[in-house]
Amino acid sequence: MLLFQSEEWIDKWCKRNNLARGEILTIHQVWELSKLWYHNRLSVDYHGRSVEQVAKIFKQAGLTSEFWYIQRLL
């Protein structure tokens, strides 16, 4: 996941690398996602997540497009 100053720079990067645009989130959206995703990462009780738990986090973060679809645990 890469940081950009604007969509213009993202388009330049995609063109230069011959890649299609993926999903673009604001830094604020990524911060909210980070808190949901990483808040308990140092806990000894963290043993990974189920498909349902991942899907729930994406939904809580407002990430509901097909891009975030999870069929199986990676």
Binding site: T26, W31, R41, G48, Y69
Partner: protein, 149 residues
């Protein structure tokens, strides 16, 4: 058969070492910490890698990633708790203060313009709202090539 309790204790130790020192423990350090044989620690590292709980450098026993922490220097520098951590990507640079539950100053660059960018996490709020993060691959493909992702 894997000792599940020990496996997850080792995972937590790796993360705590990252948090305390900014770098991951070696297999030797982990074996010493848990008073186990080197070979057992190796198997636990490999099992955690296989479960995507951490990621080893290919063909080595060196921890490259325990997300959000990076075991190598990157363009995503996170100053927090008096230390400088390295994150794996633009998401993980915010994952570090989220995991440590602390304020942070982040120094990085715009991927295409290469301009230095600085942002701050303070009291659970973030500055520099104009920045964007590009996720090039859909979630289902993140682990096809983790370094690229």
């Amino acid at each position: 058969m894997t000792n599940e309790t020990l496996l997850w204790q080792v995972r937590a130790f790796v993360y705590q070492q990252f948090a305390d020192t900014t770098y991951p423990p070696s297999v030797d350090e982990t074996a010493d910490r848990f008073e186990i044989e080197f070979e057992e620690a190796v198997e636990l590292y490999k099992e955690l890698h296989n479960r995507h709980a951490l990621f080893l450098e290919p063909e080595t026993l060196t921890i490259r990633m325990a997300n959000p922490f990076s075991g190598i220097s990157t363009d995503f520098r996170v100053h927090a708790n008096g230390r400088t951590y390295y994150a794996n990507c633009a998401w993980d640079m915010l994952g570090i203060p989220a995991a440590l539950h602390c304020d942070a100053v982040i120094e990085t660059v715009c991927t295409e313009s290469n301009k230095t960018v600085r942002l701050e996490v303070k009291n659970s709020q973030i500055t520099n709202y104009d920045l964007l993060v590009h996720f090039p691959l859909p979630f289902a493909r993140w682990y096809d090539d983790l370094v690229f992702t």
